[in-house]
């Protein structure tokens, strides 16, 4: 569950979040749409702990993770994040990228989980390749696998299908939809593409100039 209470964030005079309050229950799948520069990514990053809000509280699964006196680091928030640029570490193979998110898991179990994820993403053949040896679409699959690897209770997607052709986008959209449903996580999916929002989310929220407008 995600609760935002009075979140405010300014970048100079630009309002990225203007007293945003939102409650997302478990298993909910929310899409956040809006024009470029409206502050959608900023809101996501605040939830993830990658940005610090100027005001307000973030509560995840009943635990306050961000308020004026508390800042829980991103790694301790139980979040899986798929970045816009995939963000695969270039010096690690595909399997090492995914296993990194399973650090702390017993090796045998981690390997088993890795095999399962690669299989689900149809990426088993990519196991020992480096990021510069795979295509953009394949990189997105690996990024998704990495986000799902630690069984997060919250999944965040920041425009994950940018710059992909229609066919590839549809394939990946289906993959995302299937895996998010199977994971039982609550999800926020940021996009400016209404079709994507409609496919993956049960509720679509419109975000403009730092404020949520229901759709």
């Amino acid at each position: 569950m995600i609760e935002l209470n009075g979140i405010r964030k300014l970048f100079g005079t630009v309002v990225a979040a203007n007293c945003v309050s939102l409650s997302i229950p478990d298993l909910a799948r929310i899409a956040l749409t809006g024009p470029s520069g409206s502050g959608k990514t900023t809101l996501l990053r605040i939830i993830a702990g990658l940005e610090v809000p100027d005001e307000g509280t973030v509560t995840l699964d009943g635990r306050i993770v961000s308020d004026p006196g508390i800042r829980v680091p991103p790694a301790e928030r139980g979040i899986g994040f798929v970045f816009q640029t995939a963000a695969l570490w270039p010096h690690m193979t595909v399997s090492e990228n995914i296993l990194f998110a399973l650090q702390g898991t017993p090796p045998a179990e981690a390997e088993k989980r890795l095999d399962g994820l690669l299989d689900r993403m149809s990426a088993t053949h990519l196991r020992d390749r480096y990021p510069d040896q795979i295509s953009g679409g394949e990189a997105r699959r690996v990024a998704l696998a990495r986000a799902l690897a630690p069984n997060p209770s919250i999944l965040l997607f920041d425009e994950p299908l940018t710059n992909l052709d229609d066919e590839l986008r549809e394939d990946l959209l289906t993959l995302i939809d299937e895996n998010v449903r199977a994971s039982s996580a609550c999800m926020i999916y940021v996009t400016h593409n209404r079709h994507e929002a409609a496919v993956v989310a049960g509720t679509v929220l419109n975000y403009r100039k730092g404020e949520i407008l229901a759709v």
């Binding site: 991103p74 790694a75 970045f83 010096h91 510069d132 295509s135 590839l168």
Partner: protein, 549 residues
């Protein structure tokens, strides 16, 4: 931009271990690097407040000094402009050459960059004397052996390797996609002047400023050829008065100029850090330039070749035989050993300091600006003053385990050169896709593990380059080392200068060859690391290319 690996894990309002370590390292930087300079400034302030201000204040802005400063700046600007111009021609010429030639050229310039200016002055003086004998025999007028013209020429040749390297990086930092878009509609010569050079202008300006500072603070080349510079006047004041405070006062105008120039350079450095993939070298379809430009490019390459020949031939001929070189090396084994000890320790101490500071340089707020100011100061202070400052700070019974040991020459190099390493690491951090750091913060389960597995590997090329630069600069450091070197502990640079003094040319040449060999190896590491990094860049350009199916 989010500052990487600066995570405040305030689950219980206590700073995380990484933050604490970071704060300690920053404090060490301030003590080791800024402490000596602050001590000098405090001494000066104390003198002024007690009413015994150094006499140098009285004549600080005299006509003579102002004219000296103007002369020095003009020489430095001319040297920098010629250097950057030649650097651009060499860099653009390399676009059409095979990768092996590019590799060899980069290696050569990196090896020559740390050769002390005095060696350039001596080898060129001999070369000019030889040329003049030939010209005289042919009945022609000899070339001028003194004056501003020859001073400019030798200073330009001494700075040429650094100028070429910086120009190469500046041009390689231009986004190829933008260039290719222009090449679709205009000839390559137009693209060079209308697209590439304007895009590279901020970083070329930074390189120009850096060369101006280097040239301003060197007096050894101009003084050999009878040209007086402001840097020489500072030492004259120091010699006349024996007062470090007086010398610091005399250095104020030069400090103001160099700090201003370095602040201006900062803008270009930040620009470099934002642009993608500056390790890219070869072109799939090299540009075609008109004959005039190609001739100028070949001429620039020939100039570099002449510089290499003069230095190496001068050193090799003076060294005599391999036997003599071996004897010299054997006789100087202790100094060579000491030098490499100082290099090793300087790298081990300076790198963590530089890494901590480089993260502060990323900050967009006023603290970031403050840190930029802090790291630029050591670059502008003359070396002997750094040495005196180190004595003021460390020559204290409380620090007797440190003072009087080899750590003092190490601190001298750390004080002078850590800022260079910090800037290099700043550039490296900025060139990495920030999402990679963000992803690490999200998926990290163990801070130390994440630092070792993610952050440091992403910074590895920068660490290599910084280490090689620190090593090369430390090998040649003399002014501060001499002031603080412990008894019985000589270095290669001190020995070279001692031998120069009593004209032991073969021994000097032999030792210089040792130094050049060491810097060649360091250059080999840099170039290899940079070219290997192209395979798995993780840089912004690579990421944008990944998005194209």
């Amino acid at each position: 931009m989010a500052v990487p690996f600066l995570s405040f894990s305030v689950t219980s309002r206590r700073p995380g271990l990484v933050s604490v370590i970071n704060t300690i390292v920053l404090a060490l930087f301030l003590i080791i690097v800024i402490g000596p300079l602050a001590g000098l400034a405090v001494d000066l302030a104390r003198l002024v407040l007690s009413g015994t201000a150094p006499a140098a204040f009285a004549s600080l802005f005299s006509d003579r000094r102002i004219w000296l400063l103007v002369q020095s700046l003009l020489l430095a600007a001319a040297v920098a402009a010629a250097g950057i111009g030649t650097g651009i021609l060499v860099a653009t010429a390399l676009w059409r050459k095979p990768a092996g030639i590019t590799f060899a050229v980069l290696l050569m310039v990196l090896a020559l960059a740390p050769v002390p200016p005095y060696i350039h002055a001596l080898t060129w003086s001999q070369a000019i004397a030889t040329l003049n004998r030939g010209l005289t025999a042919l009945g022609s007028a000899p070339l001028p052996a003194t004056g501003w013209t020859v001073s400019f020429w030798v200073e330009f040749m001494a700075m040429l390797p650094v100028a070429i390297f910086l120009s190469y990086i500046a041009l390689a930092s231009v986004d190829r996609t933008l260039v290719e878009a222009a090449r679709m509609v205009r000839p390559d010569a137009d693209v060079l002047h209308a697209i590439i050079l304007p895009l590279a202008a901020p970083t070329l300006s930074a390189a120009f400023g850096f060369l101006v500072v280097l040239s301003c603070t060197d007096y050894s080349v101009p003084s050999l050829f009878g040209s007086d510079t402001y840097a020489l006047d500072i030492f004259s004041t120091y010699s006349a008065s024996g007062s470090a405070a007086g010398a610091l006062v005399a250095a104020i105008p030069l400090l103001i100029v160099t700090l201003s120039v370095m602040t201006w350079c900062r803008l270009g450095i930040r620009r470099l850090a934002q642009t993608p993939n500056w390790t890219a070298g070869s072109w799939d379809t090299p540009p075609e330039f008109p004959a005039l430009i190609r001739m100028a490019q070949e001429g620039a390459l020939a100039l570099l070749g002449i510089q290499v020949v003069v230095i190496f031939m001068g050193l090799v001929l003076a060294a005599g035989s391999l036997q003599r070189i071996a004897t010299t090396v054997q006789f100087s084994a202790r100094e060579i050993q000491n030098s490499f000890l100082v290099v090793a320790c300087t790298i081990l101490i300076a790198l963590p300091l530089a890494l901590a500071v480089s993260r502060e340089l990323l900050r967009e707020d006023r603290y970031g600006s403050l840190w930029w100011g802090i790291i630029l100061v050591p670059l502008a202070v003359p070396a002997p003053l750094v040495g005196i400052g180190l004595i003021s700070l460390w020559n204290n019974p409380a620090f007797s385990p440190v003072y009087g040991t080899f750590l003092m020459p190490v601190f001298a190099s750390v004080c002078r050169f850590t800022p260079f390493a910090a800037v290099i690491l700043f550039v490296q951090i900025r060139s990495v896709d920030p999402a990679l750091f963000d992803a690490a913060r999200v998926f990290s389960r163990d801070t130390l593990h994440t630092s070792c597995r993610i952050f440091l590997p992403l910074l590895a090329p920068g660490l290599f380059v910084a280490s090689a630069v620190l090593g090369a600069l430390t090998l040649g450091e003399l002014g501060a080392t001499l002031i603080v070197t412990p008894p019985g502990f000589g270095t290669l640079a001190i020995k070279i200068y001692n031998y120069l003094h009593y004209g032991a040319a073969p021994e000097v040449a032999g030792l210089c060859l040792v130094m050049v060999t060491a810097t060649l190896l360091a250059g080999l590491c840099i170039v290899t690391a940079l070219l290997r990094q192209r395979r798995t860049p993780g840089t912004i350009a690579q990421i944008s290319q990944e998005s194209i199916p």
